[in-house]
Amino acid sequence: MFDIRGAKKLVEVKDLKMHFPIRSGLLQRVTGAVKAVDGISFDIYEGETLGLVGESGCGKSTCGRAVLRLYEPTSGSIILDGKEIAHAPFDKLRSLRPMMQMVFQDPQASLNPRMTVAGIIGEPLSEHSKMTGKERLERIYELMDAVGLNRDFANRYPHEFSGGQRQRIGIARALALNPKFIVCDEPIAALDVSIQAQVVNLLEELQDRLGLTYLFISHDLSMVRHIADRVVVMYLGKVAEIGPRDGLYEDPLHPYTQALLSAVPEPDPVSHDNANRTILEGDVPSPANPPKGCNFSTRCPRVMDICRQIDPEVREVKPGRFVACHLYNETTPETADNAAEPAEA
C-alpha cells in the first residue's frame, strides 16, 4: 500500500470554493449561488491515487474540473507542484497544462467526432511541443501501444470504436504530454462492467510504469476501494471524511460514510438480505440553499443540537484520518462513547 510518510505533496487544495451564480429577474441580477464546491481542502501526494466519492450532484466532478482550472474557482488556492494555479493568468496556466491532464467520463462526448484518432492524440503534442510531423506520429504510435490500441486505428474516427477503445483513446491523449497528475472523472461510469476492469487495470499499470498521480472521481465504492490509496468522501460540496482506504472502509467515522458504505451491494445473497443497512431518510438539500450548521444535519441518523447550529470543521481525529463531524469533538460529552467504539486503526 502507498505510504504517505516521506512522500511529497504534489497537489494542495486549500479552501476551494466553486459557486455558480443564479441569475433571475428582468435584469438578470445575481440572486444566489449554487455552492457546488464549498470550501474543500485536501492534499494529493506524489504517486498516490486519491479516490473522490460521493453521491450524484455532490460536486465531485465540479471539484475535479476546478482543480484543473477548467472552471474559474470562486476562491481558494490550488498548488500543483509548488505553483499556484487557481488564479494564474492564461499564458502561465498554458505552460502548466502539460503537467495536469484529465480523463473524461463519457468517452463518446470527449472525442471530437471530426478528428481521427491520430489527430486527437496528437493535439496536445502539436499544442505544446515543436515536434515534426514524423516525430509526432512516432509518439502517437508509442502512446497507442501503451494503451493497447492497434496502430492501424490511427486514421479512424471515434465513432468506429467501442466504448472501452474510446476511453483508451482518451487516456492516450491524457498521457501524451507526460503529465504528473491526471484527474480521472468517472472514467469507468459509462462502460460495461467487463470493460471497467480492463480500463482500471490499464490505469493502474500506467501508474506503476509512469509514476502518475491520480485524482480518481467515482461513485462506485468498490472500484475506489480497488484503486485508491486514500479516499475523500464528499457531501453537498463539502468534505465529510478523508482517510486511508483500508481504515476508511473498515471503520468509517462520519455517519455519512457509514451510510454510504452500508449501501454497497453485497454479492452474497444471504448476507445481502441480512445486511444491517443504514438507510438515510429524505433527499439531498439543494446546494443553492444548504442547511444551517452541518450540511448533513437534515439526514444524519445521529444528529445532535449542535449540528444544526455550527458547521463542523475538518479535523484530524486519528493519524491520517480527517472527519468533519461534531461526534468527534473532544468537548462534546457524546464523543466519548461514540468515538470509543471504533477503536483500532
Partner: protein, 324 residues
C-alpha cells in the same frame, strides 16, 4: 475505401519498440499512416451520384462561360440588325435578340457575371454569417449584441433596401470602379450583406451546443487557445449547416441578381447577365419563346447542380456518414 496501395511507403514497425500488449498482431500486418482526410472526403464524394453529376455540370457551365467565348468569338455586343429576332440557325445556334445580337455569345458573357456574382456574394455572406455566428456562440459577452444586430438585419425589408442602396451609391461606385465594376461590387456587397443572417443564426445555435460538449473541455484542459479551439473543434463540427447555407447562398445570390437585373436595377441595360437576358426576353415571349428558355434553364440548372454538390460535400465531410 483505402486499399493497400500506400503501404509500401510505410516503414515497417520496428520490433523492439512495441511493448508486449499490441505487438503480436503488428508483426505481420503493417499499418497505414494517417493519410490526408481530404482523400477520404473525395472517396465518399465520388459515391454520391447526384453530387458527381452536379460537379460535372458545374464544371461544364464554367467552361461554357469562361472558355466558350474563346471558341465562339462573336462579340456579345455586336449588333447585326438584319438578323434580328432570328430563331436558332448555324450562324446563331441560340438565335438572336431584337437588335440582332447573338444569344449564345450573350449567354456566355452573361454567365460570367452571374456566376461571379453568385460565388462572391455567397462567399461574403458565408464569411459574415460564420464569423458572426461563431463569435456570438463562443463569446458569451457579445452574444446579445450580435444577435440583436442579426434580428435587425432580418427585419429589414430586402428589396426596398436594395433599391435605396443602389440609388444612393451607384454613381459613386461607378466613378471608382468603372460602370460594370462598380455595379459588380455594389451588387455583391448588397447581396452578401443582406443574406448572412440565416447562416449566423444556424451557426450560433450549433456552436452553443458544441461548446458544451466534453471534447471542447478536453481541448481546454490541454490549453488550446480560443482561436485554435474555433478552427480545430468548432468549425469542422458546424460544417454541415455552413455547407447547406453555402449552396443555398449561391442559388440565392444568382436569383437575387437576376431579380435586380429583371427590375432594371442591376447592371447597365446593354451589359448581359442571365437575369437581364431573361428580363429582356419577356417582352418577346410570344414571338421568340426560346429566348426565355435559355437563361432560365441556365439559372435553374446551375443552382440545381450547386445544390447537389453541396449535398454530396456535406455527406462527405461527415466521418459518421463516410464509408457507409
Amino acid at each position: 475505401m483505402t486499399d493497400n496501395a500506400d503501404r509500401p511507403n510505410q516503414p515497417l514497425h520496428g520490433a523492439g519498440a512495441t511493448p508486449a500488449g499490441a505487438a503480436p498482431v503488428m508483426e505481420f500486418e503493417s499499418y497505414r499512416a494517417p493519410r490526408n482526410q481530404w482523400w477520404d472526403v473525395w472517396d465518399q464524394f465520388k459515391t454520391h451520384k447526384g453530387a458527381l453529376f452536379g460537379l460535372g455540370f458545374f464544371i461544364f457551365t464554367l467552361l461554357f462561360v469562361f472558355v466558350g467565348p474563346l471558341i465562339w468569338t462573336l462579340d456579345s455586343q455586336f449588333i447585326d440588325i438584319r438578323a434580328r429576332n432570328a430563331g436558332p440557325s448555324w450562324a446563331h445556334p441560340m438565335g438572336t435578340d431584337q437588335l440582332g445580337r447573338d444569344t449564345l455569345a450573350r449567354m456566355m458573357a452573361g454567365g460570367q457575371t452571374s456566376i461571379a456574382v453568385g460565388l462572391t456574394a455567397m462567399l461574403l455572406a458565408l464569411f459574415l454569417g460564420t464569423l458572426i455566428g461563431v463569435m456570438a456562440g463562443y463569446f458569451r459577452r457579445i452574444d446579445g449584441l450580435l444577435m440583436r444586430m442579426t434580428d435587425l438585419f432580418l427585419a429589414l425589408p430586402l428589396l426596398p433596401l436594395l433599391l435605396v442602396i443602389i440609388m444612393l451609391y451607384r454613381d459613386n461606385l461607378r466613378a471608382a470602379f468603372g460602370p460594370e465594376g462598380g455595379i459588380f461590387v455594389l451588387i455583391v456587397v448588397v447581396i452578401g450583406a443582406t443574406s448572412w443572417m440565416q447562416t449566423a443564426r444556424v451557426v450560433r445555435g450549433d456552436v452553443l451546443a458544441i461548446k458544451e460538449r466534453e471534447f471542447v473541455l478536453a481541448a481546454r484542459s490541454i490549453g488550446t487557445p480560443s482561436h485554435r479551439m474555433i478552427t480545430r473543434h468548432l468549425l469542422p463540427n458546424v460544417m454541415s449547416p455552413i455547407m447547406v447555407s453555402a449552396t443555398l447562398g449561391i442559388a440565392n445570390a444568382i436569383i437575387t441578381e437576376s431579380a435586380l437585373s429583371f427590375l432594371g436595377l442591376g447592371f447597365p441595360s446593354d451589359f448581359p447577365t442571365w437575369g437581364r437576358l431573361l428580363f429582356d426576353a419577356t417582352d418577346w415571349l410570344t414571338q421568340n419563346p426560346e429566348r426565355v428558355i435559355w437563361p432560365g434553364l441556365a439559372i435553374s440548372l446551375t443552382v440545381l447542380s450547386v445544390n447537389y454538390i453541396g449535398d454530396g460535400l456535406r455527406d462527405a465531410l461527415d466521418p459518421r456518414i463516410r464509408g457507409r
